[in-house]
Amino acid sequence: MKSTPYLLSLPALLLFGAIVVIPLVMTVLLSFHDWGQYKGIEPVFILKNWHEVFTDSYFLEMFGRTFRIAFFVTLFAALLGAPEAYILNRMKSPWRGLFLLVILGPLLISVVARTLGWALLFGGNSGLINKALTSMGLISAPLPFMFTETGVIVALTHVLMPYMVLAVWAALQRLDPQVENAAVALGAGPFTVLRRIVLPQVMPGILSGAIIVFALAASAFATPAIIGGRRLKVASTLAYDEFLNTLNWPLGAAVAVLLLVALVAIVVGASRLVERRYAQVFG
């Protein structure tokens, strides 16, 4: 029957229409409403919030910080995670499965608990990391990690690392080991094999991992809220403040909608580029 698939998916479609599409449309509309300290939300159509978001340098700085953090988190996750996925892939059977579990497992552990761990490791001037770095003679004075961008970047890189390892790992599984062997047989050194054979083939994996990590880093909430504190605001913590402290919902909605639109544009654009670039290789 032609209508069967529609009938089967009807319940889920109705559910998503009612509690995903409608609330999102309402949020977009909310960002055009007016708000005052005493009058509350006024359902009119004005551009006040959008004008404020685009012209006030405070928002520019905050969005700049959000995407700067996301960029460095993505960079470090790729630089550190891709080699680890490669090493993991060369391990023998029991170790391979075990360490894959150890590295991917944290993905499912509460992000609040993992961030708490970083807060303990950073812990002001007497934190464990600073003690370790000082005793190794790497630094003379303790580095500030809490309430700094550096701290947020380190903790977020840890939180999102499994996604990168996962993406590169998946790409490595598609690799034909015979190609590596052929290169070695033809006289290529291990470094040449890595650079000319392995890297070009796992690049799509690294890039798709980078897209996921970037999107999640730019919209992360709990980690920047705990490590960054109340002053180091990113888009999601600012939206939280507007909604639950200042109560200026329309302005908070404008920040959130802008974050969503920017992310969708970046993710869709980057995915298109990756697909076009590698269409010849994997078409």
């Binding site: 509690i19 995903v20 391990m91 499965g97 894959l100």
Partner: protein, 268 residues
Amino acid sequence: MSKNGPIALVYHTLFVTFMLAPILVVCFVAFTPEGYLSFPTDRWSLRWFYAIGRYPEFISAFWRSLWLGALSSAIAVAFSVPAALAIGRHRFRGRDAMTALFMSPLMIPHVVLGIAFLRFFTELGLGGTFVGLVLAHIVIVLPFALRLTLASAVGLDRSIEHAAISLGASDGTVLRRITLPLVLPGLVSGWALAFINSFDEVTMTVFIAAPGTETLPVRMFLYIQDNIDPLVTSVSAVVIAVTVAALIVLDRAYGLERLLVGRSVDGR
């Protein structure tokens, strides 16, 4: 397969240390006896685990999270099964768009979803209620449930169903006796993955939970915002222990890699 050199193994050790350090430090601090954060230490005690008992809001938040995860995951699976059968076994117009819609909660930042639900539920009079939490969690865990039920619906051998039909089974019997038992493993692991994601969710829930309906991660988050003390580390240690236990069971039963990547470590 060539072996890893010494440099690779040193790198691997440092990497694993990086991944485990924050998790282990939480567990260590949870066992310290002092009334303040003290680490490293050489004395151990269960004092802060007993202390959890004196904070009923953590206990009630724990049970609420458990129920919320179980209930919303079960409902999400119930919605996913027919949708997975439609997407996995039929070619129809709008199929890709529909799949994208069902997977969209993975792409939309949870802050945006939290804001959208807060506004929507407040208008409906569901603001800060458990019903609101369940509805919101169904949406955010549905992609996980759908992905695994879809994988088992696609891998289904249609000839078994055809055999049952040719032996005279009715449509209802085929569904109940053949199709559902065959997709059951995907259904169970989909539920488990959905449960873990619901149990850990904080970003979206922090917007829609009221003081009486806080989940455990929200309670922990709000507590840490005020101060970090050994009590919250012992609560975190319990959460980590629960998750690790679930993880090991899931890995043994289904394979963590198959769960996350869609393939198993050694072959299919």
